[in-house]
């Protein structure tokens, strides 16, 4: 009879104790409770869905590149991944010679590394590590475009110089005029005195050619490009509209000499 009286409160106390010490901590304990596991599972599922979506986006963009060679070539020519200084020299010389100008100077030298604005994770979101999927560091996909100065001097009349400047500007490879000086080409006369002004001008310019090295770092999934489904190619058409002078491709006809010191 006494057991019967004691049993109900005992069970109630046991129920409360089980709820407090077992069931609730198993439900949530801030680390590995049922709720935390459920949240983690949901989060991982979302990550996986996100990765799948991004993988699909990548496939679409690769397909877009494959089907749009014209735009791809326009961009690759406009901002190449290597300097190709021989091409710069050949093209500038060709433009000047074609206009009948004398090239006095043509040299290519690197200047400084400049930062180009490229897609970056500005929100500072943690990047998921490739190996473990753990947040590690913020993404740094800042691409360094190397800037090369080309010193180019030509001598000729005003109209021809103007045409050369126009053609250089319209070259399908990106370049910009850093400085340009045009002045009379003063050559001393036979008596050592200044000759009378002629139509002959000398244009000294420093042109800037940029090179954007191929991206070879590990790609982070947080890169905003993967959220896009296609490339915005408007700029390629804009470039084609503005730039009409083709970049000459070089070829070597023959090579090999028994004595390279003989002219």
């Amino acid at each position: 009879m006494k057991v019967k009286i004691l049993l109900p409160p005992l069970i109630i106390v046991s129920c409360i104790a089980l709820m407090v010490w077992l069931v609730y901590p198993a439900y949530t304990n801030g680390v590995d409770g049922w709720k935390e596991k459920r949240d983690k599972l949901t989060s991982e599922k979302n990550n996986l869905d996100d990765a799948q979506k991004k993988a699909e986006n990548v496939s679409r963009m690769v397909a877009q590149l494959g089907s749009n060679k014209v735009d791809q070539d326009t961009i690759a020519t406009y901002i190449p991944d290597e300097l190709k200084e021989e091409e710069i020299i050949d093209n500038l010389n060709f433009i000047a010679s074609n206009e009948g100008l004398s090239v006095v100077k043509l040299s290519v030298k690197p200047e400084t590394v400049v930062q180009q604005e490229v897609p970056t994770d500005m929100s500072g979101n943690p990047v998921v590590d490739v190996s473990g999927g753990n947040p590690s560091a913020t993404e740094d996909v800042t691409v360094k475009a190397k800037n090369y100065n080309v010193e180019f001097s030509v001598v000729g009349n005003y109209e021809k110089i103007k045409n050369v400047l126009d053609k250089v500007y319209k070259l399908k490879r990106y370049n910009s005029f850093k400085t340009l000086e045009i002045a009379a080409n003063e050559t001393p006369g036979a008596d050592g005195k200044k000759a009378a002004p002629t139509d002959s001008l000398k244009a000294d310019m420093i042109l800037s050619f940029d090179v954007l090295k191929k991206f070879s770092q590990t790609v982070s999934m947080n890169n905003p490009i993967f959220s896009q489904t296609s490339f915005d190619m408007k700029v390629a058409q804009e470039i084609r509209d503005k730039k009409s002078v083709d970049v000459l491709k070089m070829s070597i006809d023959q090579a090999g000499r028994t004595n390279p010191f003989i002219p």
Binding site: C15, M19, V23, G33, L48, I75, P119, D166, K178, F231
Partner: protein
């Protein structure tokens, strides 16, 4: 007087007993349910851990695929596009400025020198004029041009050798 007990105590005790037993059963059921709930939490939690691990593995594979090969091509091309957009808006048409200068030069004045500086966004012209009046008119004419955001006169000297006035004009590009 004899006491006659009319109460039905035995019957009431029986009823109380059955109610007490029902409550006890209910409590036991609750206790069992709590234990079952705990068990479900544990088993379900273990299953979720397994599922999470499986998803993490799949995610890692996907991520590895996303960090090599095609995605690098995509990022590289996007970088090129972004850089190209910036560059396309930067380039300055030098010929345009020469054409504007041609239009602005007045009779009796000619150019001796042209200096363009992209960083400063300026063009410094060295002009030769027949006299100071023409030099002043030339500066004014450049100021009237809408192509340049600013035009100002610089050093002006009389060259005795030629009998002409050499003066500088500083033009700021828009």
């Amino acid at each position: 007087m004899a006491n006659i007990n009319l109460s039905t105590g035995e019957v009431r005790e029986k009823v109380d007993l059955s109610v007490g037993q029902g409550g006890l059963v209910a409590l036991i059921v609750v206790l069992v349910l709590i234990l079952v709930l705990y068990g479900v939490e544990i088993v379900w939690g273990q299953q979720m851990t397994k599922d999470t691990e499986a998803i993490q593995t799949e995610f890692s594979t996907k991520y590895k695929n996303l960090s090599q090969g095609n995605p690098i091509t995509v990022v590289d091309f996007q970088n090129r596009l972004t850089a190209a957009k910036k560059m396309a808006s930067e380039g300055r048409d030098i010929r345009g400025s020469l054409l504007e200068i041609e239009k602005s030069i007045i009779p009796g004045v000619y150019l001796k020198g042209y200096e363009f500086d992209q960083k400063a966004g300026t063009i410094v012209l060295t002009c030769i004029g027949d006299n100071y009046n023409l030099a002043a008119k030339q500066i004014l004419n450049f100021k009237k041009s809408t192509y340049f955001s600013d035009a100002s006169g610089g050093e002006t000297t009389f060259v005795a050798e030629t009998g002409k006035v050499e003066f500088k004009v500083n033009l700021t590009l828009k």
